[in-house]
Symmetry: C2
Subunit: 476 residues, 2 copies
């Protein structure tokens, strides 16, 4: 690991060297956006901004960096929430932005494959799939900004994971530049291909530490013939799980999304984004958003009505709202989708992207609430993809206090929440990744054998340690 | 790589050393089955047979082998078709059989998770899922013998990949012993977990060369409310693809299997397994088996009838048989499932487990047939999972000749078929893996950057080269 200690700065001389090996206009200076973390946690640093136009240019950049041992930080849409795209220490890196590689190279509706460059924005990919009568199911709050390369690098989740899997499950192949600058042509459209180790899935989720994804082939799905969306006011989180089980018994794999929201989220919306139309004047403590997508010949709204009748009868839900139009559907989704923005406006002391086994959800919520009460008085907004066991458990100051007042408690809060997650066999990095924020958590909670294997793989593929140093694994 | 050159034999002294570190009864001599390849291609070698009962014992065995640099060949059900479980060269290895670790530890119908030890037989796992009202979709000809550890190690495919994905897509977590003897506790039940590199998917498909899977958590699915099965006599392979597209337009993801069979397969059945009830007295040149699994409220047989009416009208299919009972369904499946056995009885000169992009299927079949005709006269049985682009393209002698007569042509036949697959951007190892059989193919057709990365990963995780040496990658 000696090599990693001798990383060099991307200084003016290096910028010149890089520029000389590329067509004109590829090298510049990082802008403010490249150095900012969306929640304002850290200030990043960067020496050079590289904006390549082809995979070969990406390879040239990485090769030049490898020769000179200059760090490379790949940069997609900049929406990551764990600091994976922000270099905070070590020599100033090359920030490698994929924002000029946005082509959607092709959509094959018959094969259900879409081929795309890494810089394409998720919303554009979804629209291209829809234009071909297909669905690309990856969907999340930042889809208007997030780029597919970053979404794959972080194995992003979102609202449709329950039915369609996370980003990894939606990717057939990748083209990528490895840390030595070699270009791997892995853009397969095959559904079955066992020619050697699964390098694709190793790069997916590696957050740019093992290479840079430059393009991908994505799996499309048929669009359900009919969709239905509803909000159910449920008794408690345990009732939400009962509701999910009953919905599955009725609708099998027709459930596309199953989201839990605590009243706190609606109160934040009322406080910060008052133009949002809330579904009820007195929000219940717990609300579930359920979306179904069914085959031709089935009636989504009717199925949701039948489901509500059953769960109301069973005492699991006491109020329900089934969208009767596209406008109502959009309004229901707007409530869920604006919660992250409301959270940002309130300002969390500590945010936790966690998952636990489904059955452990109620226990997690109860234990975390009790343990936090021992630390102090807080407002907790607990919401998220409960069908995947994935909750965003975010801790805020009470009204009248700011997060600065609680700076000294942040580590204790995080530790408290993560310890409970770990005790319940959960994950402290469910869908946002590890980035730089959760490196200490990974060291604390990670399996030692797995960590040792990860370090060995990193050293083998990136012996100089140039690729996104300090993300996922501590820089040596 | 010097270390790998100094591998030691699993001799009597080593057997004693191993036995001394384990409870009684774990160490013995390999049986004939451990040294035989199902198609009789090679004779294997083995010094010691180890039959551990716990993951800790597996770890102790691997650790002892790592210390002494003795090779380890993991052994599941012995059904692999590419020699991954048969050591053919180098010092005689420890054959590590998982056949005493067969417990199904638990089935959680609500979470759709089944936890199982690596030696459990696939049919038993499927039965356990069914007993809980769920489906474990992995299904293939050898399911009565194949063990889940081997199925994961080879990322097995089978008949339901079209709808549910291959073995990798059905696995949530693994427990595994890494090449240094460390036990990785990765038996997660989580649907979202981004805590570091995807070691699970790296072990899946690595064919025992990066460690030994000792247990797994598997993803279950709801059972479709109703199923329907049909045989359609189609005009040609291109019509089969049109049929698939129309079926998808009508039934979305309700299509569970879509298999193509050439008349040659039915003729082999008539010749070798005459008790098989064939669907037609005069088999058509091409038959498609289609299975649908639909939600409650839909009528599978009716849907298949409507589909047949449409494709018959369009000239794609000229005959059809829709199973009207469970007995008929079983009879239809028996035709498809017995073809591999009939092939074995006839004796292939060369078998090819290939995949190509869906649209390239007709071109592959046409080009391969024409190119083989240049080499000589053969019977070709082309069948398989055409919905996945995955065909088994097996080449046999004409009546009256034996495969021994064609020994000298085997390499030319294989090269001819594989060159066409490669030219069409396909895979020469679709669902059976690389094993020892296809190491030269991987070297010939594999992407150089990927191969270099694979070798670096192998050297990093298994520096002494003890894990299944010679499989997937040539032993150094």
């Amino acid at each position: 690991m000696d090599g990693a200690l001798r990383l060099s700065e991307a200084d003016a001389a290096f910028a010149e060297r890089l520029a000389a090996r590329l067509p004109a206009g590829r090298i510049g200076a990082p802008g403010a956006a490249h150095l900012e973390e969306p929640r304002g946690r850290w200030q990043g640093q960067g020496g050079v901004l590289a904006r390549p136009v082809t995979a070969e240019e990406v390879a040239e950049i990485v090769r030049t960096c490898a020769e000179a041992r200059v760090p490379v930080v790949p940069y997609g849409g900049g929406t990551g929430l764990v600091g994976g795209q922000i270099a905070t220490e070590g020599p100033r890196p090359v920030i490698l932005s994929l924002d000029r590689m946005t082509a959607i190279r092709g959509v094959d509706a018959r094969e259900n494959v879409l081929t795309v460059e890494a810089g394409a924005v998720l919303a554009d990919i979804r629209a291209a799939a829809e234009g071909a009568g297909r669905l690309f199911p990856l969907s999340l709050a930042s889809e208007g900004t997030a780029r597919i390369g970053g979404l794959l690098a972080t194995n992003a989740g979102g609202i449709n994971t329950l039915r369609y899997g996370n980003a990894r499950a939606l990717c057939l192949g990748v083209e990528a530049v490895l840390p030595d600058g070699r270009l791997w042509h892995g853009l397969t459209r095959l559904r079955k291909d066992n020619t050697g180790y699964d390098l694709r899935d190793l790069l997916i989720g590696a957050e740019g530490t093992l290479g840079v994804i430059t393009a991908a082939t994505l799996a499309l799905h048929p669009r359900p013939a009919g969709e239905g969306t509803a909000l159910f006011a449920v008794r408690d989180p345990s009732a939400a799980l009962d509701l999910l089980a009953r919905a599955r018994d009725r609708l099998g794999e027709g459930i596309s999304a199953f989201e839990l929201m605590h009243r706190q989220g609606m109160e934040f919306l009322a406080e910060t984004l008052p133009e949002t139309r809330l579904p009820w004047s007195e929000p219940p403590e717990w609300t579930v958003l359920i979306e179904v997508g069914l085959a031709a010949g089935l009636d989504p709204a009717g199925a949701l009505e039948d489901l509500f009748a059953e769960v109301a009868e069973a005492g699991l839900a006491h109020d329900g709202l089934i969208a009767q139009s596209e406008t109502q559907r959009a309004a229901v989704w707007a409530v869920r989708e604006r919660i992250p923005e409301a959270n940002r406006l309130i300002g969390a002391i500590s945010s936790h992207d966690i998952s636990v086994p489904l059955a452990a959800i109620p226990e997690f919520i109860a234990r975390a609430g009790a343990a936090l009460a021992e630390i102090g008085s807080f407002r907790v907004n607990c919401f998220g993809h409960v069908g995947d066991g994935n909750l965003h458990y975010n801790v805020f100051p009470v009204l009248g206090r700011s997060r600065a007042d609680h700076e000294h408690q942040r580590d204790a809060i995080k530790r408290c929440v993560h310890d409970i997650v770990h005790a319940l066999e959960g994950s402290v990095a469910a869908e946002h990744g590890v980035g730089r924020l959760k490196v200490p958590d990974l060291e604390r909670y990670g399996d030692p054998a797995k960590l040792a294997a990860m370090r060995a793989i990193k050293a083998a593929l990136d012996p100089a340690g140039i690729m996104n140093p300090g993300a996922v694994l501590r820089a040596p």
